[in-house]
Amino acid sequence: MPTDNIYEVFARKSHDQELKHVGSVNATDDDLAKAYAWTVYDEETWVEMCVVPRTAVIPVTGHGRIPVWGN
C-alpha cells in the first residue's frame, strides 16, 4: 500500500479574500488529495481551493529557537 502523505488545504470564500489555511488531509497522491480536500472541507462555498504537500512547505520559524549562534 502506498504511503499516505500530508497535504495542507488552503481556500478562499470570495475573490477579494486571502487564501486561508483550512486544514489538512492524508492522501497517497495529488488526485486523492484534491478529492479529499473538496469533500472533507465542503462546509463553505469556496471560490478557490488548493492543496500543498507538507513536504513542500518551508519552515520560517524555528520551533521556538532563535537561528543565531548555531542553536
Binding site: 500500500m1 497522491d29 486523492l32 478529492a35 469533500t39
Partner: protein, 273 residues
C-alpha cells in the same frame, strides 16, 4: 475545420419527433445512471479502506442524487415525466443504467472500477452535452461537470492506490476495470445507432457515443499502463437485442433489493394511518 450552424432549442417544440424521442431516452438513461451511482456511493460510505474515502463517497452520493434532481426537472418540464413514477412504477428491465450498477458491487475493487470507469464514462457523455443546442440541458451541465471533477480525481487516485496495494488487489482491479469497460461499451450501444445519429445531427450532442467510448477506453488503457496493469481484451458484443430504451444486450435491470431500497418500500412499515 468547418462548423455547421445548428438551431438553438429552448423547448422540445422545435425538435422533430425522432430527435425529441432520442433526447428523452438519453436523459432518462443518464438519470438512471445518476440514481444507481448515488445508491452505490451511498452504500460505500462504510467499509472503505480509509475514512477519507468514506467521506468522499458520501459527498459523491449527494452530488449524483443532486444531478438526478436536475435531470428530473428537465424530464418533468419538457417531457411530461413524473420522476416519482419513473422510480416506483417501472419494471427493472426498463431502467437504462449501465448494467455494472445492477448488483451490489464486488467489494472495494468494484467501487474503484465504478468510479474510475462507469462514473467517468457518464461524465464524458455529459461533456459532449456541454455545448448542446438544447438549452435546458446546456444550462445544467456546468454544475454537474464542476462537481464531477472530484469524482474523476477520486477514481484515478484510488485506481493508482489500489494497484499499488498488492498482487491480489491488482489482479482483481484489472478484472473489474475490464468488466466495467465491457458494461460501459454495452451501454453506449452499436456504432451508428439511430438515436445517437439524430442527436449529433441536431447539435444536441457534439460527439458520437462511439467517439466518447473510444476516449474512455483510451483513458483507462493509459491509466492502467501507468501502474503496469493490463486490461482484458474487449470482446465483440452482439447488439441484436439492444434498444436505446434500456441500453442492454438482453434482459436484466437493477436487483429487486436495490430498487426496494431506492423506492423506500420498507419505510411503508412505519407510516401511520
Amino acid at each position: 475545420m468547418s462548423t455547421i450552424a445548428t438551431a438553438e432549442h429552448e423547448t422540445t417544440a422545435s425538435l422533430d419527433e425522432a430527435t425529441k424521442t432520442a433526447l428523452h431516452r438519453l436523459l432518462r438513461a443518464i438519470a438512471d445512471n445518476k440514481l444507481l451511482l448515488g445508491y452505490h456511493y451511498g452504500e460505500w460510505t462504510f467499509g472503505t479502506p480509509v475514512l477519507e474515502a468514506a467521506v468522499a463517497n458520501c459527498s459523491l452520493a449527494q452530488s449524483e442524487l443532486g444531478h438526478l434532481r436536475l435531470l428530473d426537472g428537465i424530464l418533468k418540464k419538457h417531457f411530461g415525466d413524473d420522476p416519482d413514477a419513473l422510480l416506483a412504477d417501472r419494471a427493472p428491465g426498463a431502467f437504462a443504467n449501465v448494467s455494472y450498477l445492477d448488483h451490489d458491487l464486488p467489494g472495494w475493487t468494484g467501487c474503484v472500477a465504478m468510479t474510475a470507469v462507469v462514473d467517468f464514462a457518464i461524465t464524458s457523455l455529459l461533456d459532449a452535452l456541454h455545448d448542446s443546442a438544447f438549452r435546458p440541458v446546456r444550462q445544467s451541465i456546468d454544475k454537474m461537470l464542476d462537481e464531477e471533477r472530484y469524482h474523476v480525481h477520486h477514481g484515478r487516485g484510488w485506481l493508482r492506490t489500489w494497484a499499488a496495494r498488492g498482487d491480489e488487489e491488482r489482479a482483481a482491479l484489472a478484472l473489474q476495470l475490464g468488466a466495467a469497460l465491457a458494461h460501459v461499451a454495452e451501454w453506449f450501444g452499436p456504432t451508428g445507432e439511430a438515436d445517437d445519429q439524430a442527436l449529433v445531427a441536431a447539435g444536441i450532442k457534439t460527439r458520437t457515443n462511439e467517439d466518447i467510448l473510444q476516449a474512455v477506453q483510451a483513458e483507462m488503457s493509459s491509466l492502467a499502463a501507468d501502474v503496469g496493469l493490463s486490461l482484458p481484451e474487449a470482446e465483440a458484443a452482439d447488439f441484436g437485442a439492444w434498444t436505446p430504451a434500456n441500453r442492454r444486450l438482453g434482459s436484466g435491470g437493477p436487483d429487486g433489493e436495490i430498487l426496494s431500497h431506492l423506492r423506500g418500500d420498507r419505510n411503508d412499515l412505519f407510516k401511520l394511518g
